[in-house]
């Protein structure tokens, strides 16, 4: 195995161009599980944790190398909320938001927030420079994304207009160190429109667009609208049954969580 330990982004892109498809190693919290279980045996690794430019937070631009431990103190309310639910303190100390984006697991804790705030994923390569992809163009399936073999994830970029009235919640079967069975994020704008995103209920994070439209029409929702909102969210997700939960529970919980988060936003 060969390893590159670049200290600048351009060195990393250089290495990635030389070895397209080399495994990118950030916090290691996903990659090393696969290595330890013999599912992956990388021939070439590019280790990213020495690159200071990836570890910067600049307002609405969050470097891919920023750890969850740092994001627990983020000014973005829902991002801080979700960061606290990622793995364990040890995982949060090592794992990064870029790693979460790169792994593209349906259960990735950061993904519903990225979807709810309409984040762009900034990627870069030596030959083609910087690309910015809207989250929905980046996440393409279960653990699949639009990152090219010579690219590196650089940052998540949040639109300046995103309001701070945002709430996140995650259901896991135990109280800590748990993979989500359903997670949700709701962002409410001053004009009453909302963005509703869910995780672990489809191959990629999803937005509940019909439910959003319902609230756009009813910015001060009544009890019956709220009930319909929850129902609509449940209809819009496409979960599966697996060893962590069931389709019907995930559908049910998606609606319940989204409604609770909306109510929290409305209460402010």
């Amino acid at each position: 195995m060969e390893i590159n330990r670049p200290t600048t982004l351009s060195e990393a892109l250089e290495a990635r161009a030389r070895e397209p498809g080399a495994s990118l190693l950030a916090g290691g919290t996903d990659l090393m599980v696969e290595v330890n279980f013999g599912h992956r045996r990388p021939d070439h690794v590019i280790a990213l944790r020495r690159i200071d430019e990836l570890a910067e937070v600049d307002g609405n631009r969050i470097g891919a190398g920023v750890t969850w431990a740092r994001l627990e103190k983020s000014d973005h309310r829902a991002l801080a909320q979700l960061a606290r639910t990622v793995g364990s303190p040890q995982i949060r100390a090592a794992g990064t938001i870029g790693g979460n984006i790169g792994t593209s697991s349906p259960a990735g804790d950061g993904l519903p927030w990225l979807a709810a705030v309409d984040a762009e994923i900034e990627v870069a390569s030596k030959d083609r420079g910087v690309r910015k992809l809207l989250w929905s163009d980046f996440f393409t399936g279960v653990k699949r994304n639009a990152l090219a073999p010579d690219e590196v994830i650089v940052a998540a970029v949040i639109p300046e207009s995103i309001p701070q009235n945002q709430e996140f919640a995650k259901i896991g079967q135990r109280s800590a160190m748990v993979i989500s069975t359903v997670s949700a994020c709701v962002v409410r704008d001053d004009d009453g429109t909302v963005r509703v995103a869910l995780g672990s209920v489809a191959p990629t994070p999803v937005r509940a667009r019909r439910a959003e439209a319902l609230i756009a029409e009813n910015p001060a929702p009544t009890e019956s609208v709220l009930a319909e909102f929850a129902r609509t969210v449940s209809e819009e997700v496409s979960p599966i049954t697996d060893h962590r939960s069931t389709e019907s529970y995930r559908r049910h919980a998606s609606g319940v969580l989204a409604r609770r988060l909306l109510e929290r936003c409305l209460a402010k």
Binding site: G172, S175, H243, S245
Partner: protein, 741 residues
Amino acid sequence: MTTSPTTRTRIRGGVGESPQRPDAIPKVTGNFAYASDLHADGMLWAATLRSPYARARITKLDTAPALTVGGVVAVITQQDVPGRRGFGMHVPDQPVLADGECNYWGEPIAVVAASDLETAKRGVAAIVIEYEVLEPLTDMEEADAADSQTRRMKVRRGDSEATGAVVVEGYYEVGQQDQAPLGNEAGLAIPDGEGGVDLYAVSQWVHSDHWQIYPCLDLEPEQVRCHPVGMGGAFGSREDVSMHIHLCMLALRTGRPVKMSFDRAESFVAHVHRHPARMWYRHEADTDGKLVKVQARLILDGGAYESSSNAVIGNAGYFAVGPYLCDNVFVDAVAVKTNNPPAGAMRGFGGVQTAFGHEAQMDRLADELGIDRLEMRRRNALGHGDPMSSSGQIIEGSLPTAQLIDELATMPLPEPLASDDPRHLPGGTGLTTERGQVRRGVGYGVTIKNLAFSEGFDDYSDARIAISSVGVEVYTAAAEVGQGMVTIIQQLVRDVLQMEQVAVVWSDTSVIGSAGSTSASRQTQMTGGATYQCAVELRQQILDEFAGDDLSTEGVWRDGDLIATLAEVCSGGMCEHEIRYRHPETFPTDENSQGNAHPAFAAAAHRAVVDVDPELGLVRVVQLDTVQDVGKILNPVAAVGQIEGGTLQGVGMAVLEELVVDKGVIKNPNFTDYLLPTFLDAPHVEVRFVEEPERWGPLGAKGIGEPPTISAGPAVAAAIRDATGRDLHRVPILPQHIAGV
């Protein structure tokens, strides 16, 4: 005659204190050697080829390609087993390696020894094997219908025509729990150069391993020596042989030390699990709430091989009613054989499963009759002098069930939920739930467990004590798995001999006889009893020899004078003593399971308080208060530790832990998806003891390992039912069950 000193040293660390464990400092500094830390010069590593199918015939097995991998030294299959081809705790029904067919997912087929673990794994991958895949038998009721079983047990006691004023019927299911000790299985076998072998491998009972291993190796008993090793927990998972015979075969084949150390995924398939169960109950009671008749049908899935299914289904049958009086009891219990992962011993074996059934039934009866749920149990409490509801055995020892219930009723309930900190709410930092969405529930679990081995088994523990001028050495083969046996032995021996320096010498199978298994809550009573009794007899021998009236660190005393120093005493050669300690005799029961099967019993009682978010089905176990029947407390801190730990394993079983097995395949053999309770899942546990001495064992102490695990889970399940009003009949209770979707 020696005349000084004239005052005896007051010793520390005797019975009733909580002295520091001798292994505590090595453990906190990382210096304690566990089996996985063992090393020998020139050692090889071994890895195992395991069946990828729950049931298959092996149509081709060619190990030669593995031997062409550089660094691979040896490969063994069933063809290489020199002696008896099978092993097993009760019957040797499990082949050492798959014998032409695979009967469960993960069954070992071949083992490769190589210069390092990676190479051994490459050797495994190089083995050429082909299978004819067969349809596995994985449904326990289908297995029962097909008469695929290890033991069928029926209890017939009293009048089958008896009827009560109220009747409740229920069906209950218990999922498959895993012991999941933190330390995975590991071992090292070292050939002695003379055809024999020394084995250092995880074990709850080295002599049982020994008895199973040497016939397979076709060696004389003394040529195989099984040594106790440091273990990261057990809870039943180290009672069965796993890697042991493979290691010995490879060490003998290669002439070199061979080590194995399982990772978590392999550990999950390589040790036996708790039996999953399906249970049908019908309880009848009179209008005062007295049980009139209990009928039950119990099926426990033992998986592919017998292991300890025989004892597990026995316990399920004998304790199907719980710690309650009932004159008319009819139970049909069966342990079936399937192609599921083998099940065996786990903390509380047999009793854990039925406890979920009988405790749910007691609540339903109480509700039907309008009687308080705890009072319902109080009215039926089984105690000293009563006949066991199943076997009719008169309880000759202590069984203060009623006192436990009375004490539990006096314990204060926690304050109502007043916090908005998410760590105090269901869903935790996931921020799912607000205080207004929470409903509180309270539930009870009162249970019973037999202590030590039953049904006529020749259950004993051998112990030897040697006194020298530098201190006392206690020789035992009892397995210290973390429970604190080592401290209990020291305390008991200190107390008797009045000598503070007591070292426990963990001894291999060639040095001392069996101490029996560290299971069935038996070591405090059995090896504690053996070492205590041995010390008492040794003390008496010394006093007799010197016509003294007291013994201490200084030596032998008479009328307040020191008449012989310890050095003088020890020069005489009588300072060593060995005994075999047995509990009161038990007997196999008759065809209706009537008779005196058990040497002792312990009751346990828990009250669970839970907060539930019913809409999302999320649970926070707030508090679990417990009263335990301990006989006599030898070490309060250790006792509380056992009870708190056992309690949390019960919580895990009630709401978190389950091996998800689909067509014989374990879907979650890892810690990401087999969910053990974390610090934030652990409730506050308030522990109280009832001390009513047992008729045997050291100073009346009882085993305390299993009872708390048995009563905690049903209490949690009951509390969730109480909070939600839902008729939850299966554990673990998952969010979708509570939410009803």
